[in-house]
């Protein structure tokens, strides 16, 4: 796994995240690429205290803002973070092999569950924004998110059961 894999793995999520801010597909793609370029240069500074998606989203968001500052355009800075999303991202929650299995599962979830879950959990976007990204309602995003959660909870329970 190298940076290209990270790019492959997270591009879509970062792209959707920026799409939720800019609503312009071309700009979102451009910003996403620039963000990954920045992330590549800064990868040594990634200390691992956050989840990598949260880190990538932060870089992408900053890239987006500085892009607009450069272009001297007005944008709404209402990216207020949602609180109480019911998911806690924890370091050293389990041993590394198990953590890796969980990560694999998160990556293997089908669209739109994976994207919705990621945008909600790591991007802390509102259901309204997530819904509109997919051309759906906030209710749809909420239900989808809860279904994704359910899949993850059940998967992790199964893992625990297997360990006994």
């Amino acid at each position: 796994m190298d940076f290209e894999d990270i790019y492959q793995e997270y591009f879509k999520e970062v792209y959707l995240y920026i799409r939720s801010l800019s609503r312009d597909e071309n700009i979102a793609e451009e910003i996403t690429q620039e963000a990954f370029f920045k992330a590549l240069k800064a990868i040594k500074n990634f200390d691992g205290s956050k989840d990598i998606r949260a880190w990538l989203f932060t870089i992408a968001k900053n890239t987006y803002f500085s892009h607009y500052k450069r272009n001297k355009r007005q944008i709404d800075l209402d990216v207020e973070k949602e609180s109480g999303i019911g998911v806690q991202i924890v370091n050293h929650l389990m041993n590394e092999e198990d953590a890796f299995i969980v990560h694999q599962f998160l990556h293997s979830m089908n669209e739109p569950y994976k994207e919705v879950f990621s945008l909600r959990t790591f991007g802390e976007l509102s259901f309204e924004k997530i819904g509109s990204l997919f051309g759906k309602s906030a209710g749809w995003a909420r239900v989808t998110y809860y279904r994704a959660r359910k899949q993850i909870i059940e998967y992790m329970e199964e893992m625990d059961d297997e360990r006994g």
């Binding site: 796994m1 200390d47 691992g48 956050k50 019911g86 998911v87 969980v102 998160l106 809860y146």
Partner: protein, 220 residues
């Protein structure tokens, strides 16, 4: 009493119920249902539970990246060591074993007849890598039958007439290079030419064509 609501409907609104974005009526409906429906209670408990997931961060990803990079590095370094060894061996072989024919020059090599009619080839260069010569063989040259011997010297980068590479001391080898020609009493002429016996035995070349490109360096 309200009409009994189906579990599927309750479960559909549970996300909204948990997030507290339902109307008072819906909230009461769900509350009522949950009081007596164990199945939906379980679903509700599970859905409400805080989900803990391991952070996908340096510890997990970068260890994997680093491991792979290290593996890659080990492979790359092994490959480069191997490649270097091959190149060095190639260079070594090239310097010490790659033989080229020394072009004829009359101040570098001369055929001389010694007292007992023994023909010798005298070499005046600093060094050479090898000398190749043939027994005399009958060949027709310009209509005349002659017993002809062929000779050529080879050089490598290490061993050459000038011996640039390993000639530390001047005139280290004062010895002269003398090589006796076999069956020299039979020889009518000696030619200097590059020849390959294998080519001649496989009939890709012939002594007749060798003699045409050869230099006559001694004649009776």
């Amino acid at each position: 009493m309200m009409k009994e609501v189906k579990c599927t409907i309750i479960q559909d609104v549970l996300p909204l119920y948990i997030d507290e974005v339902v109307s008072q009526d819906t909230k009461e409906m769900v509350d009522q249902h949950l009081q007596h429906c164990e199945v939906c209670q379980k679903v509700y408990e599970k859905m409400k539970r805080k989900l803990y997931i391991p952070a996908e961060n340096k510890a997990s990803i970068f260890k994997k990246i680093n491991k792979k990079m290290r593996k890659k590095k080990v492979i790359i370094s092994m490959v480069s060591v191997f490649a270097t060894a091959i190149i060095l061996f190639g260079a070594f072989a090239y310097v010490f074993y790659y033989e080229r024919v020394i072009p004829y020059s009359d101040d570098l090599m001369r055929i001389e007849s010694q007292n007992d009619n023994q023909l010798v080839s005298r070499y005046f260069g600093e060094s050479y890598a090898g000398v190749n010569l043939t027994h005399p063989m009958p060949l027709e040259i310009n209509g005349e039958k002659k017993n002809v011997s062929f000779i050529y010297y080879t050089e490598t980068i290490a061993d050459s007439p000038t011996r640039m590479l390993i000639n530390n001391e001047k005139n280290l080898n004062e010895q002269e290079y003398i090589f006796e020609l076999p069956e020299s009493e039979k020889i009518d002429a000696v030619y200097y030419a590059d020849f390959d016996v294998e080519k001649i035995t496989s009939e890709k070349d012939s002594w007749d064509s060798v003699v045409k490109r050869a230099v006559l360096i001694w004649e009776k």
